[in-house]
Symmetry: C5
Subunit: 153 residues, 5 copies
């Protein structure tokens, strides 16, 4: 299988490097990495990786700043990534770090590291072992933080 | 008829299991179940079930967290599910639980259980007995809670 | 001409019945009625009535609750109905009642009754007598309430 | 050249009449005018004027009320007009009056009159003399109000 | 390579002129410049430059006012530019100045000048040297302001 990785120069953490490091744990997974300026440039790059580079799936790595206009860009990214998926019938797994989701930089770094690695594993499962995701259906998985767990009777 | 079921690992309740349990009450309904990480991954999976697995309709089972960014993802999901429907001319019935819509987990569990079952029945009626929905037009149906009922003269 | 009517089981008023009653005033207008669970299910049903039932125009009858997430669904409905129109080059006249737009149920009932009837007339004019709409251009028409009227020099 | 004009019965000012009056200053410009109920009906009418009436460009004339749901409709209109443009590769110049942008009706009337006329001129320039727009690039043009002017070193 | 430049008459700074000036530093880069009235007119012009003028990439130069409705237009622009990219499989680099992002006009002028020049360089790298962007992945690049830099362990 072939996986696409798209990250940004806007991000304050080299998320693409983490994703590629995680891929080393999987034999036989080829990858192509592309870097764009910011999150609004991500959807078309993901679509190009699918259509021009024959990727089976793409993991996109975005970073959203604290300003209100950054939230607006996040909506545009989210709608855009879904339209790109609908045009290609392939999954694009969106990993986003919101700069205001943690108090300090150390925590952000840990969250980003975990979230990228977990979503790379999700992407590989979606292509190779979709039934592994079904085993975890409804279990309150949280990428980057500890899983919150299921609500049980 | 064949129905698609899409749920998430993010959800804290195994909504897919409830949907499949409800389907047992209906003879001759086949199903395919897929699980994706979160709600923004739902639209393309629903479209794939329609186009690649020949489902007549899909029920999608989403879970929206309490954070503001989760509301933004909910907009993207909603627009995406409608575009997927418009591209396929098939219904995708979206069942969403908002984590903040109930005070305690017990209530959430009951709401989710009811809402999933009622929307599975809606989906089957849309394909098999659309006139049954017309009988309930304008009657204030509320999936998950008690029906609020019609406003009468 | 053939008109499509789409309403919901979520609505607390049988808006479809009102629309069909209004149609009796017009000779030679055939109709097809479909009922879906909620407003996010409306756009694809409208598109199917145009493409599979050969309707010349569709009137959709939605009901928006008081919760904030209902406002988000209203955006999705609005964008979806416009995309459905752009894909078919046919008008879809959206009649929406917002549950919080009136103080009491009696007023809501009166507003809904008027708004549905006026928009059914608009739909018929759009197909049969578009110049009748032009006669009322810029006159501050308000469906459901009294017209607010034009601003004059 | 042929220009399309779309206005609404919701508007409180006959903006279509103003647009057509402005067109008299230009020789050889044909026009087609259509009126729809409200702003969400505008995008498909503009697309039909381009595709079915062979208009080179369309000027759409909308009126947005004071209610919050009117702002939501404005988003839908804006996204819809852009998608219509992308599907046709033609410009649709959107002239919108927001009922709350002026204190009194007299001012609204003056703003509307100016804004419509200026955007009709923009539309004609876009087709006939696009380089005239480039001459005014970055000069802080404001249609309806006085130009705010450029920021100079 | 051939680059498209789209700017507006609404902008208070001649951003197109700055972009073209920056292009002089690059040999063999041809350009086409178009000016439209405002930001909602940008996406279709960018698409036309790609499809009708064979541009490899487009840099769009927008200016967003202080009013709330300007924020709504910014969402529409952002979604529209992404859809235009998805329809053409080409990048459209969006450079936006928000009038309220700086206290005084002098700062706005400096931010705009820097942001336009940096994004022109990004656009050229995306076409000619995409690996140069990857070298800066995750380094907290900020166009217009000083780079914020990476978060390091």
């Amino acid at each position: 299988m072939k996986i696409g990785i798209v990250d940004t120069t806007f991000s304050r953490i080299d998320m693409g490097r983490i994703a590629i490091d995680e891929l080393k744990n999987y034999a036989g997974v080829k990858y192509v990495r592309r870097t764009v300026p910011g999150i609004k440039d991500i959807p078309v790059e993901a679509k190009k990786l699918i259509e021009e580079e024959n990727c089976d799936i793409v993991v996109t790595l975005g970073w959203v700043g604290r300003a209100e206009k950054d939230a607006l860009s996040y909506i545009a990214l989210s709608v855009g990534k879904i339209i790109a998926e609908l045009m290609t019938n392939k999954h694009i797994i969106d990993v986003t770090i919101h700069e205001d989701e943690a108090e300090d930089e150390k925590t952000l770094l840990r969250v980003a590291e975990n979230r990228v690695r977990e979503h790379v594993r999700n992407a590989i499962d979606l292509v190779r072992n979709p039934e592994r995701l079904t085993k975890h259906a409804g279990t309150g998985q949280r990428q980057g933080y500890e899983d919150i767990g299921p609500i049980l009777k």
